[in-house]
């Protein structure tokens, strides 16, 4: 990572994310809204029982339908108040603002008529003016008329009727409504006494702006206000997202402080009054022994009760049901009765954590219950610092730790942090009723992690495009490797990931053949189909595909020997493939350079072994011509050899990119099994075999043909017919002389002569040296020159005498040692110079028995041909 590219580093991205989230939090309501949403969920997750003393009488649609449209005559409310009072309700609160007098259209005339009759209208009967003398009721014929008028006045003055009813009840609390806002100057006129008596006097020390200020207030008209036992405001303070979560317990009005309706209702229900309410602005409000902790604006985080078992948290009765007696009033004894409109269109519903539209009277019910049961939530004053600390910790994690973690561990840690934040948030809310705003660090965590992971992904993706070509090649290699290991399905998987090109077609073709050999024709068919998509004319693809189709639908009985490898697939078709003029019948095995098949010349019925060599694939084009030329030259010279102890070569040719040699098919195996110490042949048998090989070599050397690779592996021997035959004449080391070719691998040079090892020109005497080494090994089961390393071995061949054979096998005839010493002399001039000389010396050393065996061998050999 260079200094210049620091903006590409992970930590820089972390810092950028932190700054972005902070700014975003400032500029947008999205994250605060999210905090509120989490708060709402916390509220819902919390389970508290609502106060059962609270009852709600709703002015709902049913009531409106039966009692006429709102506003009703206050007469109706008076009637309700009276009956509740009779039922001994504890407190009655109205979320109805009686700020205008209700004057019936006929009332003015009734008053005028009364005045004409000389009777003063008792307009303010509740507070009759003492200065106006009440005139005596007139008498005479007008009396019943006046009585009727008076009755009409009584009935029509609904305000007075309601006030009277309030007075009688003595426990009614109606609402006021403030206009929130910073006041400019002084109030228009002082508030009337019945309002100011609610002013709270016990204000403790607190924050300067610990209360929400107001500049205007609507309150009930005098006659009703005076009749009320107390007044309280019903102001809602919606949050940033418009939701109502808090209740402003007190509001400031110039220098005065007024409690909320919920406060007053709660106070009255405890038989407390204004004097019992103490306020510490921005911290808490005390009501008698109740302490209500608030936010910095002296608002309470109301607990909103969930519905239980599909029943509302508070019993809500229809006003109409109560007033008609359908619901007995006695139910409201000692209850806190809250009366207010709930019908749509009356009053503004609030969005609360538990309901998207809650009428004010129900909000009031929740607030009162919260106060009395102390169920409110608390945002502790130290919460801000905790929130800041958490935010900084998360920021530190994103900047310093996450970039160093591996993807998996990073994901785990992030998930753990995420879970921790959520758990802390919800556990605090549900068990401690405490609210910490942890959504900001949470948002930071999520955004930071996603961006960092995305960045890493994009970077690796960029790297991936670069390495795509590489991976195609490596898939091809892995495919070949799997195919090599015999896992064809895995290989097919890998090959399919490589873009199809002409090179891959060869690989696929071979894979399909492998499938065919395993008789998995449906898979082979798949591969052929896939190949046909690239080039349907590829080799004999069409025919193969058709056959695979047929075969995959046919149940094949019986084993039918499978053929692992080889350039020709045998046994799957009805027709046998041809190689030159030979019918290929089966595979015999694998030689050093290619596969060996058993073939048949159909014209003369001769069965042959066909050795194939993929020369054209073994050599580069520029060398190929020369190599082929040499191959055929060698085959031709080897073909001239005709000796009973040399494998006869019939033919050489070229087809299907393969060079082949057709030769005599032998029954036996090579001599390797007889070089094992526990499987040695009798000495006279060994002598007879080696002597005959020496004869064969002598014959070949006379034709100037050197074998170059005489060893037990290249001498075939059939024990039944006792016939040794030298094989691979001339072609054994055909590629040796290809000097420029990289990396021809040399086998262990145990049988090589010193002159061959040092790279000098070799002649027949080198073959005889190798034969002597083979002879030695067949006699005693050990090699004359052995070493722990190749270097040691080569040193011994070049300069040390062979291990004394008698030390390995003491029971051998002593004359043997001299023979072997001469046969394995370091200088070619000191050895037996020809094969005949070698054979003669050998037979002389071991007497006539061996010679007799030689003759017999010759006869057997003829039979074997």
């Amino acid at each position: 990572m260079t200094k210049a590219g620091f903006w590409k580093t992970d930590w820089f991205l972390g810092v950028a994310v932190v700054i972005f989230v902070v700014l975003f939090n400032r500029l947008s309501d999205l994250i605060p809204s999210l905090e509120r949403k989490a708060y709402d969920l916390g509220v819902v997750a919390t389970s508290r029982a609502p106060l059962d003393k609270i009852a709600v009488i709703a002015i709902d649609e049913q009531s409106l339908a039966n009692l006429g449209r709102w506003p009703w005559s206050r007469d109706v409310l008076a009637k309700m108040t009276d009956s509740l009072s009779a039922a001994k309700a504890k407190v009655i609160a109205y979320t109805v603002l009686f700020s205008e007098p209700q004057v019936d259209a006929g009332y003015t005339y009734v008053v005028k008529l009364l005045e004409m009759a000389g009777v003063g209208a008792p307009a303010d009967a509740a507070a009759p003016d003492p200065n106006v003398p009440v005139a005596a009721p007139p008498a005479g014929p007008l009396a019943p008329f006046v009585t009727l008028l008076k009755e009409a006045e009584q009935t029509l003055n609904t305000d007075r009727r309601l006030a009277d009813s309030f007075t009688r009840a003595g426990n009614v609390v109606p609402m006021t409504l403030f206009e929130l806002g910073e006041p400019r100057g002084r109030p228009d006129k002082p508030l009337p006494d019945y309002v100011t008596k609610n002013n709270l006097s016990k204000i403790g020390k607190g924050a300067e702006d610990g209360m929400l200020p107001t500049r205007k207030v609507d309150f009930p008209i005098e006659i009703i206000g005076k009749a009320a036992v107390a007044l309280g405001h019903l102001n809602a303070t919606p949050d940033v997202d418009g939701g109502t979560r808090t209740e402003p317990l007190v509001l400031g009005y110039f220098d005065q402080v007024y409690p909320s309706l919920s406060m007053m209702v709660a106070a009255r229900s405890l038989n407390l009054g204004v004097a019992d309410i103490k306020v510490q602005p921005g911290e808490k409000v005390s009501l008698g022994k109740l302490n209500i902790v608030t936010d910095p604006a002296t608002r309470m985080y109301t607990y909103f009760y969930k519905d239980r078992d599909a029943r509302p948290a508070f019993p809500v009765d229809s006003f109409y049901d109560v007033i008609t007696g359908k619901i007995p009033v006695s139910k409201y004894q000692d209850k806190i009765v809250l009366i207010g409109p709930t019908a749509a269109g009356l009053g503004s519903a609030a969005v609360t954590p538990v309901s998207p539209a809650m009428p004010p009277v129900l909000v009031l019910a929740h607030s009162v219950s919260s106060i009395l049961s102390e169920h409110f939530f608390v945002a502790p004053p130290w919460g801000y610092w905790v929130e800041l600390l958490v935010f900084l910790l998360i920021a530190a994690y994103l900047i310093a730790l996450l970039p160093r973690l591996k993807a998996g561990m990073g994901a785990i840690v992030t998930a753990a942090l995420l879970a921790l934040l959520l758990i802390v948030h919800f556990v605090l809310m549900t068990s401690a009723a405490m609210w910490l705003q942890l959504m900001l660090p949470l948002v930071l965590l999520v955004i930071g992690h996603v961006l960092l992971v995305t960045k890493r992904f994009v970077l690796t993706e960029a790297g991936k495009v670069k390495s795509d070509a590489d991976s195609a090649e490596s898939n091809r290699m892995l495919g070949l490797a799997f195919q090599g290991q015999g896992q064809f399905d895995m290989a097919w998987d890998k090959f399919r990931k490589v873009p199809l090109d002409d090179g891959l077609m060869d690989n696929l073709y071979n894979l399909a053949l492998d499938f065919e050999r395993k008789r998995q024709f449906n898979k082979a068919e798949n591969v052929f189909q896939y190949m046909a998509g690239h080039n349907p004319k590829f080799r004999d693809l069409e025919a193969r595909l058709n056959r695979a189709k047929v075969m995959s639908e046919t149940v094949i009985l019986g084993g039918g020997s499978s053929h692992p490898g080889g350039s020709m697939s045998l046994g799957t078709g009805a027709e046998k493939p041809m190689l030159g003029r030979y019918q290929v019948e089966k595979e015999l095995g694998k030689g050093a350079m290619g596969v060996v098949y058993q073939g048949k010349d159909p014209k003369i019925g001769r069965v042959v072994a066909i050795k194939t060599m993929a020369l054209s694939q073994e050599f580069e084009a520029d060398e190929l011509v020369e190599v082929k030329e040499r191959f055929f030259r060698e085959a031709e010279t080897a073909g001239r050899l005709s000796h009973p102890n040399i494998v006869t070569i019939f033919d050489a040719g070229e087809e299907h990119d393969l060079c082949y040699i057709a030769m005599e098919l032998l029954k036996g195996k090579d001599l390797i099994p007889y070089t094992k110490p526990d499987n040695l042949l009798p000495v006279d048998k060994v002598v007879s075999i080696v002597a005959r090989v020496a004869d064969a070599l002598g014959y070949a050397h006379k034709q100037n043909i050197v074998h170059r690779d005489i060893k037990p592996a290249n001498i075939m021997y059939d024990a039944e017919s006792d016939a040794p035959k030298v094989t691979d004449f001339g072609i054994a080391r055909i590629t040796d002389s290809s000097k420029t070719k990289t990396g021809m691998v040399l086998g262990t040079p145990s049988y090589m002569s010193p002159e061959q090892l040092s790279g000098k020109k070799v002649d027949g005497r080198s073959d005889l040296f190798s034969l002597a080494v083979s002879f030695y090994q067949m006699l005693c089961g050990a090699l004359p020159f052995a070493g722990d390393s190749m270097a040691q071995l080569m040193f011994r061949i070049a300069s040390e005498p062979p291990t004394d054979i008698l030390s390995v096998r003491p029971d051998l005839p002593p004359g043997l040692v001299a023979f072997l010493d001469k046969a394995m002399a370091k200088e070619a001039e000191e050895r037996y110079q020809t094969g005949d000389e070698f054979a003669a010396a050998l037979r002389a050393a071991f007497g006539g028995g061996a010679a007799a065996a030689t003759g017999g061998g010759g006869v057997d050999m003829d039979i074997s041909l």
């Binding site: 970039p403 160093r404 973690l405 591996k406 561990m409 090649e473 490596s474 091809r476 290699m477 892995l478 070949l480 490797a481 799997f482 195919q483 090599g484 290991q485 015999g486 090179g503 060869d506 690989n507 071979n510 492998d514 692992p564 490898g565 080889g566 350039s567 694998k590 350079m593 290619g594 596969v595 993929a614 054209s616 694939q617 073994e618 050599f619 580069e620 990119d657 393969l658 000097k739 420029t740 070719k741 990289t742 990396g743 021809m744 691998v745 040399l746 090892l757 040092s758 790279g759 390393s789 190749m790 270097a791 040691q792 080569m794 040193f795 070049a798 300069s799």
Partner: protein, 274 residues
């Protein structure tokens, strides 16, 4: 454990001036401290296939193995480091894959490859090699060949049949005595060496070592050791200037600082980090 901070790796491969195909293959995983170089042989593109298979199989498998096991851990039973077993197993696996592929697919018959693997861990380096691709070390002023070729020529020199001088002019330079994928089984020569900060290691195919003398290679490394990429390019250029008769591949590794293995809990905790 991530070694990419402790090791600097640079590599370059080139078909040379004469050949059409590049039968060499190189691969490295710096963070695992693994580099592999293979020089394929066999007609047409079979050599490429063999070397490609070797590097791919070995890097793919070793990457997984190294994720799960620390190479410096010592097996209580055998008393050998895990790295040794890993390398032996992967060489065997690669050998089998290539051998089987060459046996079953005629166009790949007879293919094989040389191989050098260097695995760095715990301030050490384990080298496995087969054939005549080499690993050299430059430590201070001393430039020396670490691996010993498995080639006929080397054997002849060892056997005292040729002097080093004669070896330079020998005709059968290219005959290797061991290769991957030729026989059903092969044994890699594996040794462990100490590595020191400042060391520069060179893995190369015979395309470099046949074309450029050891002294010249050493001098080039000393002069350009500060810029490994340039040094890699320069070595290939030198081989090409001298004829470039074979594919040329080089991998250079410089030890920047010590890289001791972490033990126990520390290694676990650091395993969480990138």
């Amino acid at each position: 454990m991530d070694l990419s901070q402790a090791l600097e790796v640079a590599s370059h491969t080139d078909p040379g001036m004469v050949r059409e195909h590049n039968e060499d293959s190189i691969a490295s995983i710096a963070e695992k401290g693994l580099v592999v170089l293979a020089d394929g042989m066999g007609g047409y593109n079979a050599g490429e296939v063999a070397s490609g298979m070797a590097t791919t199989v070995i890097t793919t498998e070793l990457r997984q193995l190294l994720d799960n096991k620390a190479p410096h851990e010592v097996d209580p039973q055998s008393g050998q480091k895990a790295a040794l077993k890993m390398l032996q197993e992967q060489v065997t696996k690669a050998n089998t894959s290539i051998y089987q592929a060459s046996q079953s697919q005629p166009q790949y018959a007879g293919m094989g490859t040389t191989l050098v693997i260097a695995l760095f861990y715990d301030n050490k380096m384990m080298v496995a090699h087969i054939g005549d691709s080499r690993l050299y070390r430059l430590r201070g002023d001393e430039f020396s060949q670490v691996t010993k070729d498995h080639s006929l020529l080397q054997e002849q020199v060892d056997a005292g049949m040729l002097t080093k001088e004669q070896a330079k002019h020998s005709a059968n330079k290219n005959l290797v005595t061991r290769a991957l994928g030729i026989d059903p089984a092969v044994e890699a020569e594996i040794h462990e060496y100490d590595a020191q900060p400042g060391d520069i290691y060179l893995l190369c195919s015979d395309g470099l070592s046949d074309m450029v003398g050891d002294d010249d290679i050493g001098m080039a490394l000393q002069a350009l050791g500060a810029n490994l990429n340039l040094a890699a390019q320069q070595l290939v250029q030198m081989a090409n200037d001298n004829g470039g008769r074979d594919n040329v591949s080089v991998i250079l590794i410089k030890i920047l600082r010590e890289y001791p293995a972490r033990q126990g809990l520390a290694s676990k905790i650091f395993g969480w980090f990138r």
